[in-house]
Amino acid sequence: MTASRTAVVADPLGLHARPAADFVAQARTYESEIVLTSGDKSGNCKSLLGVLKLGIATGSEVGINATGPDELAAVEALAALLGREPDTGAS
């Protein structure tokens, strides 16, 4: 099983070093394997370098996929940390 969420990066600077560090610290609190995807690139959420090298800008839509015992909690929390849900047209 894998849990997935998409999120739109809300930080005006994109996923820069400090928010990325917080994101990685948060990801490391989960047991599941967690992967961040942006466009055609993907990186390990528990690796600062893995996240930084994706070069994620503000407003980009990213995917978070987790596999493991706490996969649902992991994707929920990490998507919330990154920012807002993608705009689906609902108010």
Partner: protein, 562 residues
């Protein structure tokens, strides 16, 4: 000849060049002293030991950065700890070593590969993170090989301008501020962490200077202009004279005994926050107009038991003496369940930030509070500039009680008495507090946390924490307005943020107390500002309804100022 680059930290510097050449990644792996007879296990063990040593060093550097420059600078260094734990860095290194590579060579090949990936990103800011990775890799490789490479920057004397191919964040923090007058590097950008730290340290710096190392000869005289982004090597005498006068003018201006004024002649006091006698000495050297916040708890935390009245009086006198006649505001013991003090029992609390701390704790421990107030009264009797400030005040009742205690233990006490405004209730009651106190001081860090109910140390909510939140700025406006004629200073991190200087002056604040090394930068900022224009522009910031609107208004304000 003149070389030019990107100005990243303002000011003028004159000094002899110390040149730090290119440090090729390849040279690290040539001989790491391991010999060929060692086993894979030996090498892995040596690698692990090097990582542990590096981790301890980086942790210590981050702690020092926090003490000297604040959380932002510490976070820059702490980023490096995440690299040490990063599977994308560590796993391939271990793999290479297990397959027979020398550890130092493995560290370098992986580090430079990672740095290259980051260095090729589109985002200019993220590209600069390659320097942080190289800083860590360098440190670990050096420890594996038993080498030290920052030797060129140690034991310097005279006035020095450091000319380097690149300068790492930790190299920058390690510079001897008594001799290093300026920095010029071939690599780097405005968003390099080394550049940010140079600004924090107040060292003039120019980065991204193509061809620097070809032009720079060790020992040559150089004039660096950190505002224009140029560095003249072997300049004419008149250039040197003019630059020396400018640099000396800066130096002289920062030690003069009175406050700087804005362009239109408004005097602004720029004071320093301090926690030790050494801090006070450094603050005076940086030209602080006084100590706006002396944190007495560090005396208590550094001793095995509670200091008695005599020991405290001796310490406070040493602080006042070190301030050389400048005013010193001592904050009474500000601890809580989360900051234990030896000899003072505080019960564990579910929620220490809403528990017994600051004045709540000292009023509940009268022996401790009485001894501190007596010691401060004795100090004030000998040093006229001494004031006493009460932390965590939430209402008039506490101030009534404090004044009763002061009358009882230090009758005729000659110090001015003030209160910190950091609890929202104190901000709402500011007119009442101002009526009772000689002065007020806004602790913007705690005020922001309490107003927004967000702990910036908590990763889940720290995005909510901002001293530029519209609610915080409106509170600052109301506090200054409500306090009327009573002096109000700002002593949180916001006071040291040059982006906020114009805003705070525009809001009516006339005293800023900042981290010691930031004093010259804030004074410089004050001198460039026009108070009338800043006041006029402040309305725009106060009308901002959302955080990003504040940011946009600040941008406009900053453009107006320059």
């Amino acid at each position: 000849m003149i070389v030019t680059g990107v100005p990243v930290s303002g000011g003028t510097a004159v000094g002899r060049l110390v040149v730090v050449g290119v440090q090729l990644p390849a040279d690290a792996g040539v001989d790491d002293g391991s010999g060929s007879g060692t086993t894979v296990e030996d090498r892995v063990a040596r690698l692990l030991a090097a990582v542990d040593t590096s981790r301890a060093e980086i942790t210590a550097i981050a702690a020092e950065a926090r003490e000297r420059l604040g959380d932002e600078s510490a976070a820059i260094i702490e980023l490096q700890l995440l690299v040490l734990d990063d599977p994308e860095w560590w796993d391939p290194i271990l793999h290479e070593v297990r397959n027979g590579s020398e550890p130092a060579a493995a560290v370098w090949s992986v580090t430079s590969a990672v740095a290259e990936v980051l260095g090729s990103l589109e985002d200019a800011y993220l590209r600069e993170r390659s320097a942080d990775v190289l800083d860590v890799g360098q440190r670990v490789a050096d420890h594996v090989a038993g080498r030290s490479r920052s030797g060129a920057l140690r034991g310097l004397s005279g006035d020095v301008v450091v000319a380097a191919y690149e300068l790492s964040p930790t190299d920058t923090l390690g510079l001897d501020l008594d001799v290093v007058r300026g920095i010029v590097t071939e690599t780097g950008a405005r968003t390099s962490h080394a550049a940010i730290l140079a600004r924090q340290l107040g060292i003039p710096a120019v980065v991204g200077v193509a061809g620097l190392l070809e032009a720079a000869t060790a020992g040559s005289l150089a004039v660096l202009d950190g505002d224009a982004g140029s560095c003249e090597i072997n300049p004419d005498q008149h250039v040197v004279d003019r630059a020396r006068a400018k640099a000396a003018g800066t130096a002289q201006r920062v030690v003069i005994d009175h406050a700087v004024t804005t362009r239109d002649g408004l005097e602004i006091g720029v004071l320093a926050n301090a926690s030790s006698v050494a801090d006070v000495e450094r603050a005076v050297a940086h030209g602080a107009d006084g100590i706006g916040l002396y944190r007495t708890e560090f005396l208590f935390m550094g001793l095995p038991e509670l200091p008695d009245e005599d020991a405290q009086a001796e310490h406070y006198s040493a602080v006042a003496e070190a301030a050389c006649g400048r005013p010193v505001t001592f904050r009474t013991l500000d601890v809580g369940g989360d900051k234990p003090v030896p000899g003072l029992h505080v019960e564990a609390e579910e929620n220490p930030f809403l528990g017994v701390r600051g004045i709540r704790l000292t009023l509940a421990n009268r022996t401790v509070f009485d001894a501190q107030l007596r010691a401060l009264a004795r100090t004030a009797a000998a040093y006229p500039g001494v004031s006493v400030m009460i932390p965590m005040v939430s209402g008039l009742e506490e101030l009534d009680e404090v004044r009763d205690v002061v009358r009882e233990v230090a009758p005729g006490g000659s110090f001015r008495l003030g209160a910190m405004v950091e609890v929202p209730s104190a901000a709402l009651l500011v007119d009442e507090l101002a009526g009772e106190m000689d002065f007020l001081s806004v602790g913007t860090n705690d005020l922001t946390a309490y107003l927004l109910a967000a702990d910036r140390g908590n990763v889940h909510v720290q995005h909510l924490y901002s001293e530029f939140h519209p609610a915080v700025l409106r509170a600052l406006h109301q506090i200054r307005h409500g306090a009327g004629d009573t002096p109000v200073s700002i002593c949180g991190e916001l006071a040291g943020d040059p982006r906020a200087t114009g805003l705070l002056i525009g809001l009516g604040y006339r005293q800023l107390s900042v981290s010691g090394p930031l004093v010259p930068a804030v004074k410089d900022r004050v001198r460039r500002l026009d108070a009338v224009a800043a006041t006029a522009a402040t309305g725009m910031v106060l009308r901002a309804r959302r955080h990003r609107e504040v940011e946009a208004a600040l941008e406009v304000l900053l453009e107006l100022e320059t």
